[in-house]
Amino acid sequence: MRTPIAFFLVVSALLFTIGTVGVLVRRNALVIFMSIELQLNAVNLTLIAFSRQLGEVNGQVLAFFSMVVAAAEVVVGLAIIVAIFRRRVSANVDDINLLRW
């Protein structure tokens, strides 16, 4: 039996929400970053579910693109976090408070 698309969409919306909440409540830069990755993967699930539903390949192609972009983001993001950690010995975003209004 074919799983209805709504199942996939609900799971992916849940994952996206967990990621969003993670970004908003966690304080460690690495965990925030992992939450963002969770969001991106939730979107990939949506894309692939729609792609299967529509019987069309564009969504899967877009999922590949988003994985590549996520990988590039990891490279840049980890480099920035490591550079900060070296100077401050902390990855807690509450300690990063030089710039305030």
Binding site: S66, V69, I80
Partner: protein
Amino acid sequence: MPIETPDLVLAPILPELILSGVAMLILLVDAARPSRGGRAMALLAAAGILAAAAVVIRQWQVPAADELTALGGMVAVDRFALFFRLVILACALLSVLLGAHYLERTGEGRGEYHALLLFAAAGMTLLAAAADLIVVFLALEVLSLSLYVLAGFSWRRLASQEASLKYFLLGAFSSAFFLYGIALAYGAAGTTSLAGIADALSGPGTSMALALAAGGLLLVGFSFKVAAVPFHMWTPDVYQGAPSPVTGFMAAGTKVAGFAALIRVTTVALGPVSWELLPAVVGVSALTMVVGSILAIAQDDVKRVLAYSSIAHAGFVLVGVAAANQEGVSGSMFYLVAYAAMILGAFAVVIAVSRTGEGRTSLRSYRGLARRNPVLGALLALFLLSLAGIPPTAGFIAKVLVFEAAVRAGLSGLVVVAVLASVVAAFFYIRLIVLAYMEDPEETERVPAEPAPGLALGVTAAVTLLLGILPGLLLDPLERAGVLRW
């Protein structure tokens, strides 16, 4: 099953190919001869930008093609794209100039700056030409990833690192929303091409709930990139922490490219649901103008003042976008050109006053500036008056154009808010002018005149004044570029 291969005509993305090719060349040369550093790389970067600009101008002169898109519907080949490309390339050229000067002073004259700047510029120009949500997403990421690194370019300075991290985390967060919007749009329309989405949305049998959710999420993603309230939190911190030439480039280039894509996506793809999305655009626009203008008053650092001013200006451009008519589109385009010239000019003044690195950015350092260097003081006053929207400057004409378009579209309420916000904004611009002209300077030493910022200041001041006095110079090409067909 045989795979259908599309005809590969690379001419429509030739400017991007040149930019990224030169960027990679710079990385190679820089790796081979790291000691050469600054100047030579800056010249190479400038040559690359000029070559790309020459291609764009050549394509502008060729009469508009019948085909609206190329490369399998991925890239638009209209004059709208060419126009924005040229504006972005001009911003990039000025930023190369300012960056070379700035980095020479701070002793960070490494070639990566120019390579990253070219990659970012390539992303921006591609964003202006994107005719498919996949390309919009990729271009957005190319420009963002380069800018995350550029914001942290002075990595020895903690503030620069911090700016980089904040920009990165919030930028990646917003990209996730944007991508979710693309996924939902794909689900609603069954395609990611902007024209295809418009067709699907105007036809029967499309889920309106999905389409509206997609439209909303795309707006959230764009609002982050162009720094519209309530997604502006990163702007002041990043603008203050990043090296000044990078901030100038971000403020001008990202906003121009982001709005180019925003205008194309809202008028082409989301055209059929524009009536439903209008309240959201109007709300964001009003909030952005009011919050940006009011919070700017409380700042005591000139880069933060300019950051809030750039937030407020995003709101004014959104007035033109909300109008969603022909005048609104070309008004926003005029506004973006004027804004890019005056904000780059303002940051060139900041660089000249700082002299080395990020010193002297507090408002105190601007006391009596006109006495320490009359020309610099006059230019600062010119840019601030233009940002405030006072004639005879480009900022005034730009505001008139978008307000007129909005009134014609029946958005008089929004225009009233916009005018009130400009009055509030005028307060802190004029306060800065009063500081520069009427107070006694803290240091009596003259601010030296220097060639690189001087040249950038000359160009931006000329554009700001010329567009204010002879707006027809730009309105003419806009008549041909401001038409979005699909």
